[in-house]
Symmetry: D2
Subunit: 250 residues, 4 copies
């Protein structure tokens, strides 16, 4: 059995078909731009997109995926509920999930968070600076004090998510807002990382430090061979003095 981490990069892949500006930046799709550098690491990388059968995520793909990366934006509702439930089940079983940018509004992220995942936004080509607030975390391996992006969409607080278990990045925006832009969660045996940057009209997924964060996150989110989850009726491990009469006689 190999130890290679198996990554599936999922992309909605719609803007690339309809928007000339996006196509120029990502001619083979955002999924391709993300997959190429991950292949240069020691990962085994596949891609999947919305318009493939079962959105490219049939059971056999999910069952052989260690970490799933998710980018979606305008067609969240077209992802079938069955697929979302299949992905959730796999996350709870241990598959890592990295949710990028507008994926904050995907069905799967909202389902795992239990909140609206809503936020403020603005498309104004403004500067973003992602400050590291957790320098001990493996996700910031090789990253400097901050990552600067000359032009990005703004996402601003309040970001309606549960309090992150670990807050890794906080973004500064030129227009006056801040954002918790790198957040980790565990759900069951699975790890979830939300990472903010990556609006489709900017070349964010060519930025070396953004790619470094994503590949660090893949390693961090890969499944751990911990205890299997056992639920349901359980025999006692110790002798219990029967106290049925206590209730009966009350």
């Amino acid at each position: 059995m190999s130890n290679t981490i198996r990554v599936t990069v999922w992309n909605e892949n719609r803007h690339e078909q309809t928007n000339e500006q996006v196509r120029r930046i990502y001619p083979e799709g955002i999924h391709h731009a993300i997959a190429v550098p991950l292949r240069q690491e020691q990962f085994e990388v596949r891609t999947a997109t919305l318009d493939e059968p079962e959105h490219g995520l049939p059971e056999e793909v999910l069952n052989t995926t260690d970490v799933l990366i998710w980018w979606g934006h305008q067609a969240h509702d077209e992802v079938s509920d069955e697929t979302v439930e299949r992905v959730q089940k796999r996350v709870l079983e241990g598959m890592g999930l990295i949710v990028l940018h507008s994926g904050h509004f995907s069905k799967i992220f909202k389902k795992l968070m239990g909140t609206t995942c809503d936020l403020k936004w603005r498309e104004a080509n403004e500067k973003e600076r992602l400050w590291v607030v957790n320098p001990a975390h493996p996700i910031v391996q090789g990253i400097d004090q901050y990552i600067e992006l000359e032009s990005e969409e703004m996402y601003g607080e309040f970001f309606d998510i549960p309090q992150p278990e670990e807050l890794i990045f906080v973004s500064w925006f030129e227009g006056g807002e801040v954002f918790r832009s790198g957040c980790t969660y565990t759900r069951g045996r699975g790890k979830v990382f939300y990472f903010r940057p990556g609006h489709e009209t900017y070349p964010t997924y060519y930025h070396p430090e953004i790619l470094k964060v994503i590949s660090n996150a893949v390693r961090w989110a890969a499944p751990v061979n911990g205890p299997s989850l056992v639920f349901g009726n359980a025999k006692p491990l110790e002798v219990i003095k029967n106290k049925v009469e206590t209730v009966e006689n009350k």
Copy 2:
């Protein structure tokens, strides 16, 4: 405008109809047993049950509820999805939610947690001892080092919930298990408290310290008049140097 906290105690109220042992302990229902002592505090208390129209939780009730207490067990699936969504919406807007015992498997709790909320269990009349692990928390006001229950159903780890924001109680069980039995979360503007004890065949909701925890939790979970949540497209608060050309020329 009054500052009285308005509590609604929701109970499935089915065991009480069909199980003689339960009826003897809670002749007017678990909701009644919980509501009576809360009325002796300064709360305004209503009850609601599954078989009432709209499960007793129409919009006008939820809109005038500050804290909702939830007990359910065998009929979780009979709670309509519309009701669950209405409750979730109100929690995110600020309504407190206290989920008791087998409510861990209610639709609303699972929806707010994003996990299966599954666990181990055993009905063996065994002793439970709830140890306080957060003595600074308002929920343990007036509580001693531990609460002892002579006979309870066992719930054991792994409890498939997101890591609690605050862990208040950890239970010891006679049969050899432990359980994170008092857990807090925030979801949007709302606070959620899960509290383990209260199997229907035991007189747990007459225990003075259990009632004390519930009334403390009501005060803790009552809505805070914090900022309203503003989402969506946002005008800049500061001047942004327009950088449209950066992208265009790439």
Copy 3:
């Protein structure tokens, strides 16, 4: 016995003696500016300063203080270790502690955090905007989406503190930095709130929303009458089958 919260506002009170600009803003000292509005709430408020005997914090003052507010800057080292230990002991017993601005470098805050509590700073009269990231928290009662301060000293990340238990505010600074500017912790039975704003050369402690946050924090940090802390050798609560021979025979 009264339920009035007893607050002691501690101030180094040195800048006010030596810096004309500071004296003009706070002619009776920063402690006075903070104490006056707190007295208008239902708190019982005393002040204490560095140059008083025992720094104004003898045992009888601490023992009758529910919440201690701390402002210090240039003379942290002049606070005696005995005083710091007395304050720490009282916090662990339940006294609330609110540490303001440059108090991040006080002996007591560093002792309770276990880290350097170091940060970046700049005095450039720049704009600060404190965004609420936890709208459910009692500390933001009555506060809007953000608090704007026209001129403040900048504090920037990385702020070397343990990950806050609750992150309440994140600051945006005109010069390009962000800062976790409202952070809660529990230590023993005591609650700690760090709140960033309040450089001595700005009239920050006259700002109504800053004062509102401080008075909210006083209520939040007031001691809870939870279990007393019992440590040391403990008799078993259950019968233990003696297994001395297991070790002996190994």
Copy 4:
């Protein structure tokens, strides 16, 4: 440069000199028992003990240590304050620290926690069962649902530590107590893991799952090459409109 993790196992090594029972179990010292299996992993392992010069932890040793393991009990006070400060400094710079059992009362652990780190205890050869409550964590790689120790010293709540960032294990004790027995923290760039088991009169450090947890923890706690920590006066990254007059004219 090698990627081998460099571990230093520190042991007080006093019980082994004076207590026949301990010597029989750990004839070459607890440090030796822990070091041997770690050497069989890919770690570079040294040991150090209290009675060596500078307690075996001079600057050159600490500077070449990636993860320090700490066992101490009866002679915590004999560890010099200089050594404690040196260790703390190295942790904040990135060195991992694993604190075992009675090390909860070591100077270094108390300094990093900011609390008394006190607890309940009992030596009664009783059964301990460590339940995994975070099955996604790398520290439980290869571990089953729980670890059972036939005979151990009891440690009971309330354990006076800051709320763990991640709670990994909760112990059940035969005598009726529970304990948060696997807890993680970050301090600066360093990671800290407290792991409860290991009283000197029991062969706990020969138990394969206990050793597995320790070696997992070494990997988890090893330094991450994240951003270096930059503190102090910082030049603005963006233009600040000078507002000196605002304050001057007040």
